[in-house]
């Protein structure tokens, strides 16, 4: 119980930080609308002469990109930069002297900022899009609950991938490079710049073996009802295994890194 109240303080703290930088969130919202408008123009041009591209209709693809926006307000995080910067500049010391684990601290402050982002940027963009496109809703309540579960899975997997990229700064000097490479993989393999069905089959096969697709593509295909029932269980199970594996690696590396880090004057 004390542990819970200890960590809920981090959630509260990150929500307060969010309130202090509320213009950031407003900008997130404006950016979201610009991006939605961009997709409407782009895909209307693409679909000018065809009814179906990459196995999706115009309306499906617009819904896809609307959901990319909504889901990524939940799953995107800057924890990688926070940690790698903290390690290279030594600011991480302030977090290490706190009476709680670095890994757990970060995850709870992440949850606070996610709630804030979703409420002020994700949901408004979604609601305004109701006027712009024909928004699709999941087929059943059960499917919606499975979607929520898959988003939570995506949130945690994304958090762990980013944490992993950040913590490498304890060993590698060029951690900025690793962050960029990870961003690239996140954009391409998770399906945030294009639905995975647009890629050549070989790439699709490779992507299906990576953990990135659980962050964007998996929740959205579940929401749009494009995943068969039998696949659902298999995909969610594999995702959970990925999460467990990443978790274990991170907890282990976090421990190692904390021993390794040497900060000037510390």
């Amino acid at each position: 119980m004390t542990a819970l109240s200890k960590y809920s303080a981090y959630v509260r703290l990150s929500i307060l930080t969010g309130i202090a930088f509320r213009w950031q969130v407003v900008w997130g919202f404006v950016t979201g609308l610009f991006i939605m408008a961009f997709h409407i123009f782009l895909w209307n041009s693409v679909y000018a002469h065809t009814a179906e591209v990459g196995g999706m209709t115009l309306n499906q693809i617009l819904n896809y990109f609307l959901l990319v926006q909504t889901v990524s307000t939940v799953t995107s995080t800057r924890i990688d930069r926070e940690i790698s910067r903290g390690i290279t500049r030594g600011e991480i010391l302030n977090r290490l002297i706190r009476p709680s684990n670095l890994y757990m601290q970060s995850i709870f402050s992440h949850i606070g900022s996610v709630a804030w982002n979703l409420l002020l940027s994700g949901v408004p963009v979604f609601i305004l899009s109701l006027f712009l496109i024909q928004v699709a809703f999941p087929g059943s309540f059960l499917l919606f609950m499975i979607f929520i579960y898959s988003v939570l899975l995506g949130l945690l997997i994304s958090y762990n991938i980013n944490f992993l990229a950040g913590i490498t700064a304890a060993w590698v000097r060029g951690s900025e490079g690793i962050t960029h490479a990870k961003d690239f993989l996140m954009m391409v393999c998770a399906g945030s710049i294009l639905p995975l069905s647009f890629y050549p089959p070989v790439l699709q096969h490779i992507f299906s073996w990576m953990p990135f697709r659980y962050v964007i593509s998996v929740p959205i295909t579940i929401y749009l009802g494009k995943t068969a029932d039998i696949d659902l269980i298999r995909i969610l199970a594999t995702g959970s295994i990925w999460l467990l594996a990443l978790c274990l690696v991170n907890v282990f590396l976090c421990e190692k890194a904390c021993r390794r880090i040497t900060v000037f004057g510390g």
């Binding site: 213009w23 610009f34 961009f38 123009f41 209307n44 041009s45 990459g54 490079g177 690239f184 647009f198």
Partner: protein, 263 residues
Amino acid sequence: MKRILLYIRLYFVLRSKEVQKRLGDKFDFVIYIFCDAVIQLSGVVFFYALFTNIPALNGWSFHQTILLYGMFQLSYGLTGFLFHALYDFGWVLASGEFDGILMRPLGSVFQLLCRGLGDIGGVLLGGVLVVYAAVNSVFPVTLTNILMIGFSLLCSITLFVCFYVLAASTSFWMDNASGSLLRVLNLCSDYARYPLNIFAKAIKTVLTWVLPFGFIGFYPASYLLGNEWRYYILALPGMVVIFLLLAVIVWKRGVLRYRGSGN
């Protein structure tokens, strides 16, 4: 005249010092350049995957789109490489470093332009893409065209610098406004990486005459391709002059308002 020569010499000296500083850790530097290029590659991946599914985008083929994207990326990359510091000007003001800049007997914009070093990856990628388009004979490689590429790059970089100076100078009036304006500029530049004729007329007009991002990738590429928008390039020098004047005036007024950061 002597003063201009001094500025040019100083620019190169300060730039090479910046490169030397970064080369202090060679491995780190190489990784940084490489990964910078990789992250910008995602745009190419997008076009590649998109065009495996469709033959053309409003009359633009894959290679033509790559030329447009490459031209834009090259100008963007060169701007970032040469004039990185304009990007975080809000911070330069807030931290009080601007006081130090005003103390020195050199132009304030000039000193800002000499700081930092970024986006070599973008330059590499943009260059490769334009060469790729040329090799695939998307446009005839004549002397005129090569000169035209050089000229439009020069103009594009100047336009970018003007945009950034304008955005940065709003920091003199409003705290943190430059950050928001930079976001607007970034959004516009996201639009301008695509053929402008896919957007609504209003957006196309804005990106041509109000925030002329179209002159950075779309119109130069159209000139090289010789399509229906090729004559717009004639307006490019005029746009550059207008924005240069605007940037200089706004900046000068801003500096007059500046009262230091209070330490």
